[in-house]
Structures are given as C-alpha cells and as structure tokens.
C-alpha cells in the first residue's frame, strides 16, 4: 500500500541527531532550564522512547526539534541534524517544509488537537497539499488512502466528518494521518496514548508499529509508562530534570537498569509480586529547574550517593547511545533492599459492610420542544456489589463504563434511580436529611484530581477539620487542631502544614491531605476514585503504601475505582470488571488476573502493556470503541466488539453465572460450559 520508495541505506544510518540541546523558558535572567544538554540519535526504522516523569523536559525536547516552542521558549545551545542538515540554522520558511514533511508530530490530547470547525478530511488535506506535490491538485484520494492506512473504517464517509463526531481513538488516528501525509522520516509521538483507554492504546501503538514497518520511519515516542517502553521501544532514554540520565537498548535496560533513578523507578512500580509488602519509594521531589546544577541532579534523592558525587557533576559513562550519567560503576551502586513491612490481607467475613443490589443510575435524555424524556443514559445499570470490612474491592473499567458514577451512587452523592444500597443493614437509598447526614461519617471518598479536590482558599487545618465540624466530632477547637495534627502525622506530613494552603503542596502531598481529610471522621469505608492516576510512578508508590498501611491499621474497606491493572494487582482483594454500566466479571484478584473467562476481561488485561520486553502475551485486540450507554446494543453489550460473539449473544443479555466460589461472569460462552457445574460447586471459602 505504501508508495514510499525505500531508499537503500544502511540500517544503522542515523536519521536525526541531537547534540547538546539546551532549551530555556521564561525570563532570561532566571530561566527554567527545561532541556539542559541532551544528546540523542535516532536511526532509521527504530523506535526511541523517551521516558520520564512529568516536568522532566521530555515534551520540550520534542517541541524544540519541531521549533514549535511556546512563547518565551528558546533554544540556547545545541545542534539538531536531520539527515545531516542542521534544522536549527534553517530559516523559518524552510523549516516549514520540514515540519510535517520530513518530521511529523502527534500530540497527547487528540480531543483538542484537531480544529473543531473543519472536517477531518480537510485537515489532513492541508498537510497533503503542502508536502505531497503529486497530490496537491486533488488531494481527496490521497486523504482517503491515508485514512485507510491508519485504519479508519469507512474512510469515504469519515473524511467529511468533524472531529467531535469521532471517538478519541479515531481522532488520534486522524492525527497520525496528518503526520504521515508528508511521508516523514521521523515521527515524534508525544504521549500519544496517555489520554486513551488501554484497549484503544493497544490499537494505536500497534498501528504505529505497523506503519513503521511499512515506511521505515524512525519514531521518537515520549511516555511516562514503562509498560509502553517495553512494548514498543527499540531503544530507551530516561529523562530526569532536563537531562538524559540513561540510554540503552530496551532489553538490556529492563534486565539491568544502571542509573540509580532508573532502578528506583522499577522498584516503585506496583505489581502482583509485591502484594505482600510495601512499595519502594523515591524520597523527596524533582528539583525545580530554574537553577544551575553544579552536581548530580539526583543527588538529594539518591541512596547510593558517595563522596565523589558531592564533588563534581556526574560524567557520562559508556557510549553516547548506550550509557548512563553517574560517577559510579554499575557494581558500585548499592541500593539497599528496602525494609518493607509485610502487608496482611484480611480474610473475608460473613457480613458485608456495604451491599448494593441491582443499583441503577439513569440520567434522562430530554429532547424536543417540551423537553420530554425520550430515553436514559444508563450510566449504572443493575450493579451488584459486596464490600467486606478491611478488604479492597477494585472496580475496573475503561472511561465511560460508569465506574465513577457507581462510586458516587453508592455513597448517595448521586441519588440512585433504582436498586438498593445497604450499609451495615441500613438501607441508604431511602434515607434522607439528618439521618443520612449523620451516617455519612461512616463512608468517605477520595478523588482523582488533587488539584481540584481542595478549596484553594482554605487552610489545610480547616480542610481536614471540615468533616469533623460538619459531623460534630473532635470536641473543642483546640482538641480538633490536635487531632488534625495527628492525622497529618499519620499520612506523613509535618505539623507545619496546618497553617498552609493547598497550592503550597505537590500533587502527592495534596493526595495525602485528601486522605487525612477523609480519615478525620473515622470512616469504615472509603471509595477511592482513581486516587493515583494523576500522579507519577514514584509518588503513586507513596500513596499506595499509605493506603495499604492505613487499611491494616484502621480496618478500612476500600472500593478502589481504577483503570490501572498493576495497581489492582498490588492492592485489591477482589476485582469487579465493568462494561457499559454493568459488571461483566467479578472474583478474587488472582483468579481474575490469571484465569479471566469473560472475553472483555481477557481483552482488557491483554491490552495492558507490561514492563517486561520478554513478556509475550497472547494479544487479544479489541476493535472499535465502547458503544454509548444511552443506546447499548441489544443482547450482550459487548457482542459488537467481541471476537467470539455468537448468534445468541446478539439476542439476549447473558445471566451472571457463578463459576467458582466468588468468581462470577456474565457471558453466554461461559455459562454454556458451566451450567451443570454451577450446581456442583460447594461453597468453599476462598484461600487468601
């Protein structure tokens, strides 16, 4: 399909070389050194992955290469050579020919990266007309061909649609089509899948791989996800505070990371094998970049640091494409095996703390002149859940499956349309006013976004005490203050935090304050709504440790809402998988992760990138997107995307069948083989 004539080059030929790149932002007397001396080389047909935590300067490298820096950004030193030509010396007019021509770029947010009032076809055509003189006259056939190339179904119709008519994954495909229009030698992809769900992420990453194989372009992929690195990368560069601290081929990197920072990152990753212990953390924070660094940037957080580290800036050891920035030889770097307290997982008791039956949360769709209700968005459509004391149930699903709505409906923050929620044998859905208000101290919630979860105009003391005041707990003002100080201590914050405002804290610290706030009313159940998805890996580890510790100490039950399977594997006792408002499979965490039966669970799990390049999984790719909950498909909601769908899947929704003790699934294929066995199963307690 590809028309690219593959030039005969040696596979080793570097396409893009970056030397000593320095990019500054802001005022010239006190600049932010966003990129501070980066060398890297991209070869034909290879994927180079830049990995790093937020604010380490990886996006700035990409924008520097494109010369698309935001206002106030400037390249102060370095050289960028594209096939031997210096890009930084080109006049702006000539640079335009390279942008979108020899270098294509795709961005993180497909939702906002396309012009909302222009058809997607025209947006691709713009790039074709600029960089493809052959098709400049009538670009439409070429646009359709590009659409087909990036796997957009029904391209003849799609080219005339507007961005808002396409799903997130489709928009990202359009972005890729734009980038491909100039037949680039280098494609820069800046977190191309971060805003997408895992099943869609898998589709897009596979597409990029396929396109690379077809065209032989070099890809520079920017990500924060070590799983994505293992999945797609040939070579990897680890960024820390504006510099590359390690460059390596992917396989050796995952086998033996060399830089202390890289090593610590791996240790902070949650996973099933670390279930019974805490996670290793990186103490401290990334230093602000508005200062010169005479020494190693990681020094303050490095436990392997030695005297030599405090004398001079670290040298680059090894070759430019395979080395690391540290004074110490690999065998000199001693990272203590962390002394991590063991973690117990509580056994299931007989009586659930919270029990939801057939929980429904419908939002009316109003149409017409009189705004009559013509239908419902069935965000939550018949949910059965049991939450046991001291245990964690993970509610897993992709965005739009209704998991957050379910959490809020359970806590009566949204009043459910139907069904029942019992807390300690008390029916919540019929409770109102003062009795419900008094009961609220028993169940609390922690939100995803640490930036908006606290009133910026309130002191931390008042934020944490808010629940106590509302519930009339904690006695006098002085007593309350003492208790708040104790709570802060419990979540690892100094007493001085009392008199400060939320904006003075980092994301991780704010999440701790949010946890302290929830704990202040001594709840028995906490709904954690994606509490770590806005955090970097090292910070996520701290918060997960804290949550686990608190659970053990205070016998809390958690409903953990997330899309991150690694966190589930680390934290959860049980897992419920949601699809389009309903639970499709539920069971103990080990069973779900290893012996999932529902095709959706299988597909979801197989789509998660695993940080291990040697890991070969049986990939089960899902096609298409999740249907709208306003108009779910007849029959099994999943049948349109299910690779194993049969005739009856299109006719009726499958019943929930118990397969094993506590393991249930709603799928015709599962219930078929299980019908006779179900009755046989004696109610064994699960081992844990």
């Amino acid at each position: 399909m590809s028309e690219v004539a593959k030039p005969e080059r040696s596979p080793e030929a570097p396409v893009l070389q970056v030397q000593g790149l320095k990019t500054h932002l802001g005022a010239s007397h006190n600049p932010v050194r966003a990129v501070d001396g980066v060398d890297l080389t991209l070869r034909r047909g290879e994927t180079f992955v830049l990995v790093g935590e937020s604010g380490c300067g990886k996006s700035m490298i990409a924008l520097s290469l494109m010369r698309l820096l935001p206002p106030g950004g400037r390249i102060v030193a370095g050289e960028v050579l594209l096939e031997g030509r210096s890009l930084l010396d080109l006049p702006e007019v000539a640079m335009r020919g390279e942008r979108g021509g020899s270098i294509g770029m795709i961005f993180q947010e497909p939702m906002t990266s396309l012009n909302p009032v222009m058809t997607v076809g025209r947006q691709v055509a713009e790039a074709v007309r600029l960089h493809d003189p052959q098709h400049a006259g009538d670009s439409r056939p070429r646009v359709i061909e590009l659409f087909r190339q990036v796997g957009i179904p029904d391209p003849e119709r799609r080219v005339d649609e507007y961005p808002h008519q396409l799903s997130g994954g489709m928009k990202q495909r359009v972005m890729i089509a734009i980038a491909l229009a100039g037949r680039p030698r280098v494609l820069i992809a800046d977190e191309p899948t971060t805003a997408l769900d895992v099943t869609i992420q898998a589709q897009v990453l596979e597409l990029l791989k396929d396109l690379q194989r077809e065209t032989g372009m070099a890809i520079m992929l920017i990500t924060h996800d070590l799983g994505v690195v293992a999945e797609t990368g040939d070579r990897v560069g680890v960024m820390y505070a504006g510099q590359l601290v390690e460059t390596a081929d992917v396989r050796p990197f995952f086998a033996q990371p060399r830089h202390p920072y890289s090593r610590k990152l791996f240790r902070a990753l949650p996973g099933p094998e670390k279930r019974d212990q805490g996670l290793d953390i990186i103490p401290g924070m990334v230093p602000p970049l508005d200062q010169p660094f005479p020494l190693c940037r990681f020094l303050d957080r490095c436990e392997a640091a030695q005297a030599v580290c405090r004398e001079a800036p670290p040298p680059w050891q090894g070759s430019p494409g395979d080395g690391y920035r540290c004074h110490l030889a690999v065998d000199q770097i001693h990272l203590e095996a962390p002394v991590l307290p063991p973690r117990r997982h509580a056994a299931k008791t007989d009586r659930p703390l919270m029990q939801a039956r057939n929980l429904q949360m419908y939002f009316p769709i109003r149409r017409g002149v009189l705004r009559r209700t013509v239908g419902h968005v069935r965000a939550v459509d018949g949910l059965d859940l049991d939450l046991y004391p001291s245990r964690t149930l993970a509610l897993v699903g992709e965005s739009g499956c209704g998991k957050t709505t379910a959490g809020k409906a359970l806590l009566q923050l949204l009043r459910p349309t139907g069904g029942s929620v019992r807390f300690d044998a008390q029916e919540l859905t019929r409770l109102k006013g003062e009795p419900l208000r008094r009961l609220r101290r028993q169940f609390q919630i922690i939100f995803q976004d640490p930036a908006s979860s606290m009133n910026p105009r309130m002191l931390v003391e008042d934020i944490v005490a808010e629940g106590m005041v509302a519930q009339g707990l904690g006695g006098s003002r002085a007593d309350r203050r003492q208790r708040v100080a104790r709570l802060l201590d419990q979540v690892g914050l100094p007493e001085a935090a009392l008199r400060r405002y939320p904006h003075e804290f980092s994301g991780g610290q704010r999440q701790r304050i949010a946890i302290a706030r929830a704990l202040a009313v001594e709840p028995r159940l906490i709904v954690c709504d994606e509490p770590t998805s806005a955090l970097d890996v090292s910070v996520q580890a701290q918060v997960l440790n804290l949550l686990k510790e608190l659970q053990q100490e205070l016998e809390l039950s958690y409903l953990f809402i997330t899309h991150n399977i690694a966190v589930v594997a680390y934290l959860a006792d049980e897992v419920a998988v949601m699809y389009l408002g309903r639970i499709v499979e539920q069971g103990p965490v080990s069973v779900i992760l290893n012996q999932a039966l529902h095709p959706y669970t299988q597909a979801l799990l197989s789509a998660v990138p695993v940080p291990d390049p040697a890991h070969h999984r049986s990939v089960l790719r899902l096609e298409g997107d999740m249907p709208s909950p306003a108009n779910p498909p007849v029959g099994c909601h999943f049948h349109e995307r299910c690779p194993r769908a049969e005739a009856r899947c299109r006719e009726a929704y499958p019943p929930m069948v118990e397969i094993d003790a506590g393991h249930r699934a709603a799928c015709w294929l599962v219930s078929e083989g299980q019908d006779e066995q179900v009755s046989d199963i004696s109610s064994k307690g699960e081992s844990e």
């Binding site: 961005f107 012009n115 009032v117 713009e126 600029l130 507007y162």
Partner: protein, 325 residues
C-alpha cells in the same frame, strides 16, 4: 435541532409578557395617570377637570387592570392594561401623547436609522477584524503593544467627544460635510457620511481590542499547534484556523445586535438631526411622551429577543459542533 429553535422561540413569550408587565408597572403603577397629567399640564394649581380631560383624551381614564363597572369580558378588556399594554403584543402601539400614530411614525423613521446603523456595523466590523488580526499577527511586538494602547485610549474617549470633535473638525473647520440635517432618497448620503465615519471610529477601540482577545485565545489552542506542526505558514494558520474559529463568537456577537439596528443610534441621530428612531426616542424622552417611550421599550425588547433567537440559529449554522448534535 428544529425542536431546539422552536423551544427558544417559545421561551420568548414569557419574556415578552415579563417585559410588558414591567413597563406597565413602571408607567402606570409607580406613578398614577393623575401624576402624569399633573406633570404635563405643568401648572401647580391645575384643576381636576383639566386632569380628567387630559386623561380622557389619551385613554388613561379607565381603571388600571380590572373594570368593575364593565360587563363580562370587558371587565378585563376595558382597562388601561388591556388598551395600552396587551395591545402591544399585536404591535398596536396606539397614539402618542401628542396624538400621533406611533406605529406609522416607526415605519417611517426606521429607514434613516438603518441607513446609518447598517454601514457602521458592516464597515466597522471589517475594519475591526482587519486591525485586530494585524495586532494578533504581530503579537508580543511593539506594534501590538502600542496598538493595544491606542485601542484603550480610543475607548477611553466618550462617544460625545467623537461626535462633537467630528462635527467641529470635519464639518465646521474643514467644511467637508454638512453638520446636520437629512434629505430624502438618494441625496441622503451627503448627510450620512459624517455620522457613519464617526460611528465607525468611535467603535474601533473597544471592538478591535475585544476581537484581539478572541484571536489570542484561539492562537493558544492545541489545534493551532497541530496546524503549525503540519508546516503551515503563519498566515495560513491565522486565516485558515484562528480566524475561522474566532469568527464564531464574533459573528454571533454581531447577529444579536442586527435586529436592534432598527432602533437606531440615539446620540448620532440626535446630534446630526437625522429623523430616525433614535432621535424619535430622544425627543420623546425630552418631551416626556410616555406613550412613545413605552412603545420603544417594548419594541426594543422584541428586537433584542429576536436577536437572541437569531444568535441561536446562527450558531447552529456556523458551528458544526452545534449543528450536528
């Protein structure tokens, strides 16, 4: 989509009823017709007969909202409220306090008003968009800075000074245009140029600065970065992407005022002696002709609501996000 527009149109009905009640209360309840009569007849010791006669001549002698003496439906219809307020819904504006037919006056006077307001809007829009687009193109440079300062300075000058300054400078000193007056038909243009020019100039400051903010807001959006990453030139980005998106708020902001153009410009018309609806209103205010003011309040509200409706419709035409939902 149609349903939405029909809904919006229906929403205008309670709003108009509200406006109607408001004007009724303001004109007949806060001050009784007796007060009005006394005010008009002026003299301190005005006789009751004179007041009664003044009221009878203008139909203000009926009960306000409920006629006890009348029979049947006339209890409601033979009242001031029905005669003076409810009839407005049929665009029956009645007689002015000086006895003229308001509806006829309006139909005569709206044309001169339009003759001034339409060119001011069209030419002004073109100039403002071009000027602000230039500022956006040179954003961050001294040209932009001083352009904005000029805009702020221009919008800090009262419209009165633009008019007086224009009349004195262009009309009186340079003798380029007649200072005031009007002519019928095609000859009117000589009298229109000066007010139109002044109207445009006085709007440049606020308009250009506002459009510049709109442009800059679009320029910072992600899709503009995408457009640059394609290799488009800055001009192509500005015209093809930024202008296109910023035009949506600009156009809908213009659409809302189109119907009210009929109302004319109060200041320009009265300074230049143009017989439009603006000077009609001003004259009514200074003569304290309540019937005309009341009619104009209602007419203005109708036109404004019409403008809101047109805005909704134009959104659905211009913005695919609204059109296709």
């Amino acid at each position: 989509m149609m349903a939405y527009i029909v809904r919006r149109a229906l929403y205008a009905i309670p709003i108009l009823i509200g406006v109607n009640l408001l004007t009724f209360v303001l004109f007949f309840v806060v001050n009784s017709p007796d007060d009005m009569a006394r005010m008009h007849l002026g003299a301190k010791r005005v006789t009751d007969e004179a007041i009664q006669q003044w009221k009878a001549e203008r139909g203000y002698d009926k009960p306000l909202a409920w006629n006890v003496q009348a029979k049947g439906i006339e209890k409601l219809t033979d009242t001031i409220f029905f005669d003076k307020s409810v009839r407005l819904f049929a665009f029956d504006f009645g007689q002015s306090d000086s006895g003229r037919n308001i509806g006829h006056d309006i139909s005569q006077r709206m044309w001169p008003s339009l003759a001034i307001a339409v060119p001011i809007m069209l030419v002004g829009l073109t100039i403002n968009i071009s000027f602000s687009l230039m500022l956006a193109f040179f954003r961050g440079t001294y040209l932009d800075f001083w352009g904005v300062v000029l805009c702020v300075a221009m919008m800090s000058i009262s419209a009165l000074f633009y008019i007086i300054g224009g009349q004195v400078l262009l009309g009186k000193l340079l003798n380029l245009f007649p200072i005031s007056g009007y002519d019928t038909g095609i000859h009117a243009w000589r009298f229109l140029i000066l007010p139109v020019v002044i109207g445009i100039v006085s709007g440049i400051g606020a308009g250009s600065r506002w459009y510049r903010t709109l442009f800059l807001e679009e320029i910072n959006k992600d899709f503009v970065r995408t457009a640059r990453a394609k290799g488009l030139s800055e001009q192509a980005v500005l015209f093809g992407h930024v202008l296109r998106n910023a035009l949506i708020p600009i156009l809908t902001g213009v659409v809302v005022v189109i119907p009210t153009l009929f109302m004319g410009s109060l200041l320009l018309e009265s300074f230049f002696g143009i017989p439009g609806l603006g000077s009609y209103t001003i004259d009514a205010i200074s003569r304290q002709d309540f019937a005309i003011v009341r009619a104009m309040v209602f007419l203005g509200a109708v036109l404004y609501i019409l403008g809101l409706l047109l805005t909704d419709i134009s959104y659905t035409l211009v913005d695919p996000r609204v059109r296709l939902n």
